[in-house]
């Protein structure tokens, strides 16, 4: 059982051999330490990555919606990736007003209404219903610009979802979407 026993009792303390071997000795220790650091990273990555969205969460990234269900002058709120999405069927008057405001001086993030809708489907506005300030859901048809008003901190959006007044820094986000038919949109 006596495997680790001492032959050189006088030598005690600092590890290692004669001076001449210093370089090779250091290399071994450095390599072993580097491998230990590498192992630490290899262990840490799966742990961190496990907190990223799982496959079933990512699979819900697209939804289809029939926009003909939305009456003119109304909006329907649907859920996409756990967030509300406003699908708004705007009246001719509302469209006229937001186009007229395309170059308004109070736009914080200047965008034309055309940039925020699809050609041929101008009455329909699709935006993520989450205030760009701190994420509350703006209420429909209120505020100074006839679009939305966020009750949390008083941000006013127009009917194109553009921020016009209040603390929010950006326009309501237009999610990636396309019209798969005349009346059907695929979001995501």
């Amino acid at each position: 059982m006596a495997e680790s026993v001492v032959t050189n009792e006088a030598h005690h303390g600092a590890p290692g051999g004669p001076e001449g071997e210093a370089t090779r000795r250091d290399f071994i220790h450095i390599a072993a330490s580097a491998a230990a650091v590498g192992a630490g990273v290899m262990v840490a990555w799966p742990l961190i990555n496990s907190m990223n969205p799982a496959a079933d969460t990512l699979a819900l990234a697209t939804i289809d919606f029939d926009v003909s269900k939305v009456m003119e002058g109304q909006q329907v709120v649907i859920t996409w990736q756990g967030k509300p999405v406003f699908v708004r069927h705007r009246t001719a008057a509302e469209i006229q007003r937001v186009i007229a405001d395309n170059n308004a001086s109070d736009l914080k993030e200047p965008q034309t209404d055309q940039e925020r809708t699809k050609v041929g489907h101008e009455p329909f506005l699709v935006v993520v219903g989450s205030c760009t300030h701190l994420g509350c859901i703006p209420t429909f048809g209120t505020g100074d610009f006839g679009g939305w008003f966020c009750p949390c901190h008083g941000s006013h959006y127009d009917a194109s979802g553009r921020i016009r007044k209040g603390p929010a820094p950006l326009n309501l986000v237009v999610p990636p979407y396309e019209f798969t038919t005349d009346t059907s949109v695929r979001i995501g």
Binding site: S4, G16, G17, R25, K69
Partner: protein, 286 residues
Amino acid sequence: MTISIRKVLGVAVAATALAVSAAPASAAGGSKEPRKAGFSFEGPFGTFDQAQLQRGYKVYREVCSACHSMELMSFRTLGEKGGPFYDPKAASPADNRFVRALAAEATINDIDTEIGEPMTRPGTPADKFPSPYPNRIAAAAANGGAAPPDLSVMAKARHDGANYIYSLLSGYVDPPAGLTVNPGQYYNPYMAGDMTPFWTGDHDAVPKGGFIAMPPVLNPDQVTFDDGTAATVDQMAKDVAAFIAWSSEPKATERKQAGMGVLAFLAIFTGLTYASYRKIWKNVGH
């Protein structure tokens, strides 16, 4: 020192032996050991045969799914790397055109988002495989009191799972003379059970196997394989067993490949640490 390493390894071996010996004793009578199908996915380097998985999916879809659910399986999983319908050109499993088509064939029960009433719609890749029965009680009631088990993880839920499924499905034989088989039951030598109470013959020669409520469901040419493989009972049993083995652990291939990398890294790391250890202990030990 070397002696000591050998001892440490000895302990590891002993512990493993203990673990293996902990495998349960078979009940009196017992069942036949499954036949070996020689699957491609066995062993540390084995991978699934994609054509076989596709055939197996077809057998499940056209035969098994009439009674057996696979509640934990999503259509998108079919398009994952190593899965039956994996397509390297697809951006994600959910974008895979084969997966979309297969999912669309299924009818999914859902709730109409506007009126709140139950409705049905075509499946999407994100949907789980639909179950043949609304719940377990309905499944049991429709099958003479024995609910057909869910097949999602069946290969992990039986000893030697893939070979067991293959052997069971292709192993139905006529009950030996002297065995009383109750109506609605079938004899299968690979099924777990104890035939002693039903055996009128020699008490030292009780037949192995058990009773199963599932009739022999596979018949030659029941399924038409798209790749032209002859649909013998043996072939269909083997293919569906491979599919269930895959669905029981879709990440098995990824696991084994990661394992090779980890072992290679550990070998280098252990070697370096051993060298470092010898240097540091040079003037102390031995």
